[in-house]
């Protein structure tokens, strides 16, 4: 299978702050790729950079940025806006901020399609109603005439998803789509996304901090830390044989229902995420790492313990297993 989205050596900086340092990600058709990490690790800016939506003070460099084989790095704003909302679409954590409170759900949904496809408003509204039904919203015709504030959080997120699907995108970028929702609604929305993916062959780049979401939805996972992809692998391998000390630490921090021992402390990672500025060298995790060695301050090797599985660390897979 070929990659639909190919990001390689992505660098993003805001002034002297390096937000993303040499991140490479591939999202294939019909696959969910989870970008996981804690706040400030660069996962959201990575998504914005792919969409060409970085704020003005953000600088983007990359070795390659290809969508369906086409280079989008050199694309100007006009070309990008033609792609956005059409072949690639994005949904956000808080749907209220990305829906315009002054317009009805229907007119906002229709506008996307009228703009990109040049269809009539009537046809666009029909399509909107069809998609609202598709994301399992009951009585879609009535919802088209409602304003965003009249909908619950879960419904709004469904509307956002339906809106993103208006022009049958091939790539959907979802930035923490369920973080603001209750657990029961979260499960419903994630199921919906998985079903849509199966039916439409969507490629999904899902950004989240929640390892539970990752485990249940991802085909492939990239773990980001301080702007770097520190580990990348298929989901089962990552949870069964995590390699990078940060991934391992992160997994030990999560209380797993059913496997909880109340008298035992949770695993935790000491310290805090460092501020990484340009010219930073070595492993950004070394101050918090229990396995730190003197050569962690130098250039770090990317290791490949299995096919399709790589991580960024000085310690070889065989030594990692015993530590």
């Amino acid at each position: 299978m070929s990659a639909l989205l190919e990001v390689s050596g992505l660098e993003i900086s805001f002034g002297t702050l390096s937000a993303v340092r040499g991140a490479s990600i591939e999202v294939r058709r019909g696959e969910t790729h989870c970008l996981v990490g804690e706040s400030g690790c660069g996962k959201s800016v990575t998504a914005l950079a792919v969409m060409g939506l970085l704020p003005n003070n953000g600088l983007r460099h990359a070795a390659a940025l290809r969508f369906d084989g086409q280079d989008i790095l050199g694309l100007d704003e006009k070309g990008m806006s033609r792609l956005r909302g059409d072949r690639m679409a994005m949904i956000f954590q808080e749907p209220m901020t990305s829906l315009n409170p002054a317009y009805t759900v229907g007119s906002q949904m229709a506008e996307v399609m009228v703009r990109h496809r040049g269809v009539s408003k009537r046809a666009a509204l029909d399509r909107a109603a069809e998609l609202l039904a598709r994301v399992r919203i009951t009585s879609p015709e009535m919802r088209l005439g409602q304003y965003p504030h009249q909908l619950s959080g879960g419904l709004r997120q469904r509307v956002m998803i339906a809106m993103a699907l208006m022009c049958e995108p091939e790539l959907l970028i979802a930035d923490e789509p369920t973080t603001a929702l209750d657990v029961t609604v979260q499960a419903q929305i994630l199921r919906l996304l998985a079903d849509l993916q199966k039916d439409l062959g969507l490629a999904i780049l899902l950004i989240t901090h929640d390892l539970g979401v990752v485990a249940r939805t991802a085909h492939r996972v990239s773990v980001m830390y301080a702007g770097e992809v520190v580990e990348s692998s298929p989901v089962e391998q990552l949870f069964e044989r995590p390699m990078h000390p940060y991934t391992r630490g992160l997994l030990s921090c999560v209380p797993v229902p059913g496997k909880i021992r109340r008298d035992q402390p949770l695993g935790s990672i000491p310290g805090m995420v460092p501020h990484v500025t340009s010219g930073f060298e070595g492993c950004a995790f070394r101050q918090r790492c229990a396995l730190v060695r003197p050569d962690c301050a130098g250039p770090i090797a990317r290791r490949k313990p299995e096919v399709d599985h790589d991580y960024l660390c000085q310690i070889a897979p065989e030594d990692m297993a015993t530590s």
């Binding site: 879960g154 419904l155 499960a187 199921r191 901090h209 109340r262 990672i269």
Partner: protein, 319 residues
């Protein structure tokens, strides 16, 4: 058995909200006939979705909101009649948002020292000594006392909030979603700290959270709230192993454990969202309940009690 530290007796709390210019004022039933008790040394977890009334309940127990029905006893004394200093020595809060829970214009040492200052018994020197010791105990360097909240990370702020709550050695701490705004690794640090402090100071927690995994980790007893009522309660182990109420079952099924092969669960709850301005007749969960029968829409289920278990459902029994 020792007397309960918190006793909530049939507490209700309603709000009036006006919607729109000419809208009829609506009654929001946030908490409705809740009774519970917290025994010394216990951690009572309260779980539920947003809008279920768990935060309102916490505010009522802290005395920040007056109940519209029922009463709250803290250490056997009526909360409403407690002197503010006496109350502060018994019960302290830790809130969710580490940004809005610290006054942005005051230094950390003043924030942590505030409860001592309010008691007005300790000298300035004693206050400083106790604040420094407390900061150290929650894992902050005493030099952080000079900083303003804006100069701290989310995790550090939450440690400051914990230090403020514990500097007077209260007996009860009400934790309202204390780790929800934090990153996973920081959440683990804070949870471990709360657990250590509880053992060390002999504290009891009322622990409110929407995160069931976190509650399972910390709580000894758990109450599940739905639309203002406790629909199920039990000791933590039993509740998580053998839930009785269909809502508890659905909540537990929705938790995404980090186990890749399990896929995304089907909750069976449908689209109707609970609306506290319009509480359904009969069992308030019946519009979403996957196993509801006709009776559920007609008649509110009785509260079945057999300590520590409680359940409110026509189709569930306590064994």
């Amino acid at each position: 058995m020792s007397a309960p530290l918190i006793e909530v007796r049939d507490v209700g709390r309603q709000f009036r909200v006006r919607s729109g210019l000419f809208g009829q004022p609506k009654r929001v039933v946030a908490v409705d006939g809740v009774s519970l008790s917290l025994k010394p040394g216990e951690v009572l977890g309260v779980v539920g979705e947003s809008g279920c009334g768990k935060s309102t309940l916490a505010k009522v127990i802290l005395g920040l909101l007056e109940p519209t029905a029922g009463e709250v006893l803290i250490d056997g004394k009526r909360l409403a009649g407690l002197d503010r200093r006496e109350r502060a020595k018994l019960i302290q809060p830790v809130f969710q948002d580490p940004f809005s829970s610290l006054n942005p214009r005051r230094r950390v040492r003043d924030i942590v020292g505030m409860p001592l200052e309010a008691q007005g018994e300790a000298t300035a020197g004693e206050v400083r000594k106790r604040v420094e010791a407390m900061l150290e105990r929650v894992g902050l360097d005493p030099s952080m006392g000079e900083r303003l909240p804006a100069q701290l990370s989310g995790g550090q702020r939450q440690r400051v909030a914990i230090a403020r709550a514990l500097v007077m050695r209260p007996r009860i701490v009400v934790c309202d979603e204390p780790t929800s705004a934090l990153d996973v690794s920081v959440q683990a640090q804070v949870l471990n700290l709360l657990a250590e402090l509880r053992r060390e100071f002999g504290l009891s927690y009322l622990f409110i959270s929407h995160n069931l995994a976190v509650v399972e980790h910390v709580a000894t007893e758990v109450a599940v709230m739905y639309l203002g009522r406790i629909v199920e309660q039990n000791d933590a182990e039993t509740l998580f192993r053998d839930p009785r109420h269909p809502y508890t079952k659905a909540l537990l099924a929705s938790v995404l454990t980090p186990e890749p092969k399990l896929g995304i669960p089907e909750t069976g709850l449908g689209d109707t969202m609970p609306d506290p301005t319009n509480v359904p007749p009969g069992c308030r969960f019946h519009p979403r309940c996957p196993v509801a029968i006709e009776r559920c829409g007609l008649e509110a289920p009785a509260t079945q009690r057999k300590a520590p278990a409680l359940v409110e459902c026509h189709l569930a029994t306590i064994t």
